[in-house]
Symmetry: D3
């Protein structure tokens, strides 16, 4: 029995509010239950130094958590003067995932930065970030297409992410904080709408797992991502 | 004529959504027009080292701006590894202002941290932060009173803040970004509901000003703060 | 009764030793009583990146306090690896103040940096810094005029600053450390010789204040600044 | 055809020199072909603050790369003043992996730090680090057992890691640098001797992959880890 | 011929103004010609963590250079966020030197920090710092003796330092900036009044040197230090 | 009697393994007894900014100590976010020493960086670094000569370094850790094969020393360096 009463393969309610803020070229407030992440997509007509003159663009991400997004207040990374290893690991994952569905040559010599800021945390902030980032990116690219700055669409397909894990011996989908902090193993999958995998990460926390468990977690992730793909589609319709 | 068509002594719409997030002891999303700041109040049952054993509490603030709160993306302070002078100046101002209406001895040996994070910026982020912080503080203290952790109310009265400035030669209230970036002088006043002043700051940007102008700016600030006091009252009713 | 026995509107002795060091284009040791600040003006024939090619110059300031300028030793900011919020707030104020009396277009594409280093502190270090910085700037600009690098004078008039505050219920001028650490409110005013205001900052420390008090503090500041203008005039004669 | 001429399921030669340095409680120089990592295990009779008084120990890891371990010199992280996101991600992975085979309660209130320093890099430095760290940990724990500081063995079984990837369309084992920098996808698996999985990470670099590919990569990893388990066994015999 | 016209074994005028600032337990402005260093000695009734409970005190030093002490403005270390290698090397040398003439057990569990801040630089700032630091330390210890906090004198004898070097082929004493920046080799000697050596450092800059040159430099240093010992004696008389 | 049983003028065994790693243009593992330092020489076809366009090259060094090179684990400088004063002092010394035997004009507009990483420490790490760095530099320059990138040899002669000190009243050569941590004075000499001195540093640790002692330490250093010159010669033969 899950603390929330959900079925093992049941996502929390997915909410997507596109255009949540007005300055960014794309923006969205995405919610997986009580997890709320604000994602903005910022377009800049320049690329980072390592790409200058190579005829391609770049998609990157930054991630942050407001100090009181969590149950107890965490210290502000700007005040501490550095980003934690966790933060860096997450923002590298988000950027890598979105690049997996972007044709950087079609994007041209411009950079899109996806800022994912967690307003409220209840497990799954990185997967909500990736799923919301696709919406923000889609909106920003739609603007570039509408304005004629782009004539072809660099986004190749939808991408979404969801966590799952072994909780009290059973594989469950979309861990909330209560489950996440007690899971034997947790996993994050980043999946494409065509079924391909962009990223699979499954980590033993309190108990190692076997191949069968890995496959069951992947099956759950497919169920969750399908829900997310549908919500993304409605949001950008 | 103001870019927004407002009268010189007219505030932008003030919106206050109390309890915007669920983990913090107090939280609010405050809007002055398109400026939106999320303020959370976090209660901790300990005080900073310089106050240990002194029988009093502390109220402090931190301030941040999401990278794409602004028209063009700013760099993330956590990634740069330090907070700007502007950020530090603002968070010192917010903390000082809220302490001006808090009896720290009545608060007892606990600390309340007010995190002010700008979701969207259109001028006046520091004054919206102060005005919202009072609401978050009020809600947090109400919780302490309700739970019996506090038996007397440490908040002595309401406090609010508003910007004003000399725009195209005329004193105007509550500058938005268009006005703020072109003002000859701008000022921030932090006022108490009883009419007293907690902080007055008036800075020549493109032209110095005379004593008469300073007084006219203060009069405008009184008008604006009265509107804010009313909105604060409704929010915590 | 003030700890120093001074009248409420009495400045401490103002001492200005121009050309205190020999390498800087302008330098001065300014004293407000026991507060001693060394200010140097350094001219560089280049502007910061954000001004390149804009046909104007820049005046900026840095501020520091020697570790044992104070009653008890403070830690060295270079050793701590960062400047405090207070330091940054002060150096922003100094730069802004001096720019208020400099025509940056007449200055041309060069930068003048005013380094204000507190040798001994007894209250009022930021106002002594501003008042001394004008002298150092004046000397540096005189050198540019004498050498023919400048043909018109970019300094439009004198500027000076002084602190005042509410001490034991009475407004007093030019707070020393004993007064400053016990004042109900303290204020810093940056005034031009023509009577205009470049900056007014009045902060409640232990008690908020009313509009009448604000005006009385400003009157005291005018008295103090007139003394400083006279001393500045003698120093650069 | 692999650049090295190896078969798809062929590891590079595994070399393990136990007790490579003399001060550390455990040390090893491990080589996967031209990748050489020096791992030391340091025992300290104290635990980090978050574990004090909880009756358990801790195993953690740090990772570094000598500046000229690589084909072209990289900058020294100590000189840059911060560890990269990649470094932090790797050292978190190493620590987590070794904890998966350590009973921290049996270890008692002491900490073992595994320092993994890459002397020469040719792909697979994180997996060589994990595989070598087990040997260093084993040697350090053997010392604790021999000295009577431990009476039961906290290490539950062997753990090893290996990389694999999709190179030119084919799954291959133990990528060297040439393969790693051109792989469509790469994966790292951390496996226990009993066949369980501690960590699975598979990332699309130039092409996403399907479930079948994920399983084939895992099969290759099992082959490689079996070779490593054997080499570990010989090293600590 | 030296640029200054001095004889090879001639010091620049040595000036020592004891009690230059008023808050520090000891303070001095020392000049070797145009090199001017303000040294303060701060007494704290505690020792650094590594000495707690060991029944002895500590003497340490910090060194800084005001940004415009030099011919062209250098950047402020507090603003850069770190102290240069040169700064750290110098402050380690100063502390080590003063400890060589202090009986730390007699000093008792207190720390004396010597802050050496260069007001104006013209070569020899580290040697002027050491020579002045002895005066500041002497004054601070005299205060401890006078107040009865110390009953025995922990200072065992005088210590002084001077630079010398090979300039245009000839050994010369007390290099000024013109000589220092063109010397083939330069050396710093820290000598005790009894003739012993606390520190000898001789570095080839543009040409290596032989044993005979090293000895001639040491002889010059003895001449210079004798002048400094005399000046120190007069200053603390 | 020395703890190791060595004669006062006896070096520890000197071991030099050239080409210890394969990517660097020059590399060596040098041992002075149990002190082991890996030195790599990296050639880059560019010079640092301050030398651009000046028709000369640069030789510089970086130094690091693996966390468990020492008897007890030290913290990792990359994790602490800064290099210690000791590290910076040593790397400045190494770079300066190697430049003393390099004709930078003959080297041309390229930089050679000598990375000295201490694998195991038992006293004398800086002198082993310098002595090994010469070998790595020699190998790298030989490569440049062999490839035709250099047509003349910029290395003017051999250079080596050794520590010595006053241990229990007697001058001894090549201090190991036991001696170094108890020496009254210790010294480092950097000598050229022609007998000239590049650097002499002699520091009182627990007792100051006289001129005679300084000369005896230098004589010992000459004996030690002759052994090192021979070993260097064999290594690059």
């Amino acid at each position: 029995m899950r603390p929330s009463g959900r079925a093992p393969d049941q996502m929390r309610p997915i909410t997507i509010e596109p255009r949540f803020t007005r300055h960014a070229e794309g923006s969205v407030l995405i919610g997986f239950g009580d997890t709320k992440v604000l994602v903005t997509a910022s377009v800049e007509e320049r690329v980072p130094p390592f790409l200058r003159g190579k005829g391609q663009g770049w998609v990157t991400a930054e991630y942050g958590m407001l100090p009181r997004a969590t149950h107890t207040r965490g210290s502000r990374e700007a005040a501490k003067g550095k980003q934690s290893g966790r933060t860096q690991e997450i923002q590298r994952l988000i950027g890598r995932s979105l690049r997996a569905v972007t044709d950087l040559t079609v994007l041209g010599e411009r950079q899109i930065t996806l800022d994912c800021d967690v307003i409220q945390a209840d497990g799954g902030t990185r997967t909500a970030s990736i799923s919301g980032a696709w919406v923000a990116l889609r909106l920003a690219v739609d603007g570039l297409l509408a304005s004629g700055k782009l004539t072809a669409d660099p986004i190749t397909q939808k991408i979404a992410a969801v966590s799952c894990g072994i909780y009290k011996g059973d594989p469950v989908l979309d861990l909330d904080y209560d489950e996440d902090s007690n899971a034997d193993a947790d996993a994050n999958f980043v999946l494409l709408e065509n079924g391909h995998i962009a990223e699979a990460q499954a980590t033993a926390e309190h108990a190692t797992y076997d191949e069968e468990a890995l496959l069951r977690l992947l099956r759950l992730a497919r169920i969750g991502c399908n829900d997310i793909f549908a919500a993304q589609g409605r949001a950008v319709a």
